[in-house]
């Protein structure tokens, strides 16, 4: 068992973890943060997308044991911070979620667009969201929600 101390959603947590524990199982089983989902556990579907040290990662391809000192943000923390309340409202308004299993990962990736690519075009949004599978929606409402949020933020920033 490896001792780790890290920050998860702004709270410091200390645990002893088995090396074989990936970040998603750590979040779900050890911390009870079930918003991040294990859709494939081999790094393809994106349902486990979370932020580590400010960048989105596949939670199923990160060892929890490697995260001593790291800062992790999950969908729960992102929601509570209010950082993407506007994006989430657009998701709701446009029905950009059906079964919702992909949605937390999708919101994490969409938040990455908002942070790093404020001028993203529709094609760039589609490209950036690639890697997050949605089997229900057809993606269009999700792309619409991100595009609308970007436009709204640009307008508010007077750009």
């Amino acid at each position: 068992m490896i001792p780790i101390t890290l920050t998860v959603n702004g709270e410091r947590v200390t645990r002893h973890v088995e090396p074989r524990r990936h970040l998603i199982d750590f979040l779900r089983l050890d911390l009870g943060l079930t918003g991040s989902h294990a859709g494939c556990e081999h790094g393809v579907c994106g349902a486990c997308t979370v932020r580590v040290d400010g960048e989105i990662v596949r939670g199923c391809l990160v060892l929890a044991a490697s995260l001593d000192g790291a800062e992790v943000t999950t969908i729960e923390g992102l929601s509570d911070s209010g950082e993407v309340a506007d994006l989430q409202a657009e998701f709701v308004a446009r029905n950009a979620a059906q079964c919702g299993f992909c949605t937390p990962g999708m919101v994490m990736t969409a938040a990455d667009i908002l942070r790093h690519h404020p001028q993203a075009s529709r094609a760039e949004i589609r490209e950036h969201l690639s890697g997050n599978y949605c089997r229900c929606t057809g993606y269009q409402a999700i792309v619409d929600a991100v595009e609308a949020t970007l436009a709204q933020r640009r307008q508010e920033a007077g750009r």
Partner: protein, 291 residues
């Protein structure tokens, strides 16, 4: 599947790494970005005894220009390759390749050293390293040695790396003003491994004459394939439609692609030719491209 039971050692220095290797021998498996290794653990196809996490070893990090060469630390992540100003200026092929690799979340973790060491024949960076005639700095407790990328890849998922040896850095000569590079691929979906791809580097002088052509293909063999005959067909010629056709013709003898789930060998050979034409056409003067 859940990963098999493994050990974990966090190396904070090269000495930590050598110590872990001494202690665990062949059971020690180096872990960098983990974007391939950890996915394979989920298949339970390999059961490494101990993962030695090298991501905190400072010597393996960073991009720098020194001694007339661009040195890219092995831990440089794909996302960093895409946005690093030194890479953009001196090795734009790597910067252009990065967005083709998987998806943003993977690019935030995966490293150039990991990609080269894993040596997937369909991966972009090994082919770029070959096209740029990169030199790999290999490091072990015994010391450092330097090998050319072209000879580093020895077969399917296999390299010159010896037990206990890691890639420390990738070194390339800075791009000259005459250098032209391009990376193109055909993949079923954005971010997928390529069915066929080309990483092309060459120099064009003021008269449009080709020097030092290095066309490297990926996804069409058991390793990145430097298209020697096609390169010969181009070298010293003025780049025009005839030269491109000659290179495409010569390419047939350079490749011996395997069949895979996407199609038969002849499809890969065909796609490689198409990509060769498209890549080289990008280097033509604008009026010839329009023609």
């Amino acid at each position: 599947m859940k990963w098999p039971a493994i050990g974990y050692i966090r190396a904070r220095s090269l000495d930590d790494l050598w110590e872990a290797q001494r202690t665990h021998g062949a059971a020690a498996q180096v872990l960098a970005g983990g974007q391939t290794l950890l996915a394979t653990l989920a298949f339970r196809l390999s059961e490494p005894g101990v993962l030695v996490d090298i991501t905190r070893i400072p010597e393996l990090r960073g991009v720098s220009l020194a001694g007339g060469a661009l040195r890219i630390g092995a831990l440089t992540r794909h996302a960093e390759l895409a946005r690093d100003p030194l890479v953009a200026r001196h090795a734009p092929l790597f910067a252009a390749a990065a967005p083709h690799i998987a998806h943003p979340a993977i690019r935030n973790r995966g490293t150039i050293g990991g990609s080269l060491a894993y040596a997937d024949p369909a991966a972009e960076l090994p082919a770029c390293a070959v096209a740029l005639d990169a030199t790999l700095h290999l490091l072990s407790a015994r010391g450092e040695r330097r090998v050319k990328a072209e000879g580093f890849f020895t077969g399917l998922l296999s390299t010159l790396l010896e037990p206990g040896e890691i890639i420390a850095a990738v070194e390339v000569a800075p791009a000259s003003p005459a250098q032209r590079t391009a990376i193109l691929e055909v993949a079923r979906r954005s971010g997928d491994y390529a069915m066929a791809g080309i990483a092309a580097a060459l120099e064009l002088d003021a008269t449009g004459r080709v020097a030092a052509p290095r066309l490297a293909f990926f996804g069409v063999g058991d390793r990145p394939v430097l298209a020697n005959r096609a390169n010969v067909a181009l070298a010293g010629r003025v780049l025009d439609a005839q030269a491109i056709a000659a290179a495409a013709e010569a390419l047939g003898d350079d490749l011996d692609p395997p069949a895979d789930l996407h199609g038969p060998p002849e499809m890969k050979r065909h796609l490689a030719r198409v990509l060769l034409r498209r890549a080289l056409t990008q280097f033509l003067p604008a009026k010839e491209m329009a023609a």
